[in-house]
């Protein structure tokens, strides 16, 4: 936001800054809850427990949290447009990084606690189990996004930063497919996530069609940009 030095805008920007700081604190606290809850259960505090299959509980909890955060991250832009609350975009990096954090813990739990670093098994899984392959790809694809998430990198990469970070769309699709492929018979939750992701992606398509129309370009010529 541009600021012209004057008393009212100073006060306004201070209020705006305070609002963002408060929102960031809230996002940080809320995003930490699933991890704190896992430790709480793991330590058996207040009768809580990870249940009969603790590795599965931890694995599923971390994976679900990562997917939730991914969808919330993708919801920032539509929410901004619909409400006009542009400051929401300043929460996006933290949400994205928390998503990467949980996804990494999800992978580490799989590698360290589930497979216990049986590398042979790990390679077989990655090669032969489609849902593992897909999940693995999603995590790997997210690493460059996490690395380039700083303001410095954003400035350095310029327009390419936006292009690179469009990787989040295929990552999200891989994430939902990963969820789908391991379901046994009850597809309710995977379908729910697929529905939410479809809505979030549909918003992008809708916006992009509007933009190309305004520019007076036929939609087809710009098709390569979004994929």
């Amino acid at each position: 936001m541009a600021s012209i030095s004057s008393g009212t805008t100073d006060r306004r920007s201070k209020v705006a800054q305070a609002r963002v700081t408060l929102a960031k604190t809230a996002v940080f606290a809320a995003s930490s809850i699933p991890l704190v809850w896992l430790f709480w259960q793991g330590l058996g505090l207040g009768g809580a427990s990870l249940g009969a299959n603790p590795v599965e509980t931890v694995l599923h909890s971390l994976g679900t949290t990562a997917l939730n955060l991914l969808l919330i991250t993708l919801a920032v832009t539509p929410l901004r447009r619909l409400t006009g609350m542009n400051w929401l975009v300043r929460l996006r990096r933290m949400l994205g990084l928390f998503c990467f954090f949980y996804l990494s813990l999800h992978f580490l739990t799989y590698a360290l606690l589930d497979l216990q670093l049986a590398w042979g098994e790990l390679l077989v899984d990655i090669a032969l189990r489609p849902y593992i392959t897909v999940g693995m790809l999603a995590w790997l694809a997210m690493i460059p996004l996490a690395i380039t998430s700083t303001q410095k990198m954003q400035r350095r990469l310029g327009r390419n930063w936006i292009k690179l970070h469009r990787l989040i769309y295929p990552i999200a699709i891989l994430g939902v497919v990963h969820f789908f492929w391991q379901a046994k018979a009850d597809l309710f939750e995977p379908l729910l996530y697929a529905g939410m992701l479809s809505a979030l992606l549909a918003f992008r398509v809708y916006e992009w069609i509007g933009k190309t129309r305004r520019r007076g370009k036929p939609a087809a010529t710009a098709a390569s940009q979004i994929s």
């Binding site: 793991g42 990870l50 249940g51 009969a52 299959n53 603790p54 590795v55 599965e56 931890v58 606690l113 589930d114 497979l115 216990q116 049986a118 098994e121 077989v124 899984d125 032969l128 189990r129 489609p130 849902y131 492929w181 391991q182 046994k184 018979a185 009850d186 597809l187 309710f188």
Partner: protein, 317 residues
């Protein structure tokens, strides 16, 4: 309600060929020390609604490994009639009414009809048998079941020579089972065995666990336990037994035939299309316990391999 004879010799009721087969089986089982309770005078006649079971003898071939905790066994269940989450059955199964209970017997047998649970159980002596339990989802437990050989029960229905398979059905009552409202599987839940598998001395008609009456979430009042097959074959809360001459449909096979075959024998060499079956997580070991190797036929090869001689276990998974 039909009435069942309580003491019939197997020779009275089975076609000779089947009877001879079974005899060989039983003899080998006796030789292997699997069936010492045959002559036991104990009776199970009165199954209490809950609490401790009386007159339960110990099966001498139980595993020596320590069983999983009662809590693990009764709070981590797949019983989709009460929800698809592992904790759902323990939370929701209180709506099941396991008494009065009856079982309908249909198909290729002479003593067809509907029998009360009391009638079903009356002549059978109860045994505690500690078996491995291996879920197709690659986790496992050690469970001290209480029951009696299913074959002893099936013989009383006098299956005829056309009875090549036995199909079992779970209760299908929406008032008692909230999970039936969602069409995750084809209801009623159904499972099946070949007659030889059903008559095998390891196949257990089960009414209890840990010396107590089966909790609802574990399939009260009567379930199967087929220890060399994946857990979903061990159908719960049985209300119908159907003898048939052709391979019966089974719920998981109907849901995904390429993933769940009719036989569903535990086999570390045949992977589920989406995950490996080579190893399993033995529950109860905590967060850091390693996976262990899955055993062929869940460790019951000596007892059951003969059932599958000449059968391609990859095709017939």
């Amino acid at each position: 309600m039909a009435k069942l004879k309580h003491d019939i010799k197997p020779s009275e009721i089975t076609p000779e060929a089947d009877f001879m087969n079974r005899r060989t089986l039983l003899q080998s089982a006796l030789a292997a020390g699997l069936l010492p309770a045959l002559a036991s005078p104990l009776r199970a006649a009165n199954l209490p609604l809950s609490g401790d079971l009386e007159n339960v003898s110990k099966w001498p071939n139980s595993l020596s490994e320590a069983p999983n905790s009662f809590e693990d066994i009764t709070t981590y269940n797949n019983f989709y009639e009460f929800g698809t989450g592992k904790g759902d059955p323990a939370r929701n199964a209180h709506t099941l009414k396991p008494r009065p209970w009856s079982v309908e017997v249909t198909g290729e047998a002479d003593k067809l009809g509907t029998y009360t649970l009391e009638d079903i159980l009356a002549p059978h002596a109860l045994e505690e048998r500690i078996y491995r339990f291996r879920c197709v989802e690659a986790w496992s437990m050690i469970v001290p079941w209480v029951g009696f050989p299913l074959g002893d029960l099936l013989s009383r229905f006098e299956p005829n020579s056309q009875a090549k398979y036995v199909q079992f059905f779970t209760l299908n009552d929406r008032d008692q089972m909230p999970g039936l409202r969602s069409p995750v599987l084809r209801w009623p839940y159904r499972e099946g065995l070949t007659i030889a598998e059903a008559m095998h001395p390891l196949t257990l008609a089960t009414v209890g666990v840990y010396g107590k009456v089966l909790p609802n979430q574990n399939g009260a009042p009567l379930r199967l336990v087929v220890p060399w097959k994946y857990g979903y074959k061990s159908i719960k809360s049985i209300v119908r037994i159907h003898f048939t001459d052709r391979q019966p449909s089974t719920s998981w096979n109907m849901a995904a035939a390429n993933e769940y075959g009719f036989y569903s024998n535990v086999n570390p060499n045949v992977d589920h299309p989406r995950w490996s079956q080579a190893m399993e997580r033995r529950l109860g070991g905590g967060l850091f316990s390693p996976r262990i190797n899955t055993l062929m036929f869940n460790g019951y090869t000596d007892e059951v391999a003969d059932l599958y001689r000449g059968l391609d276990l990859v095709r017939n998974h």
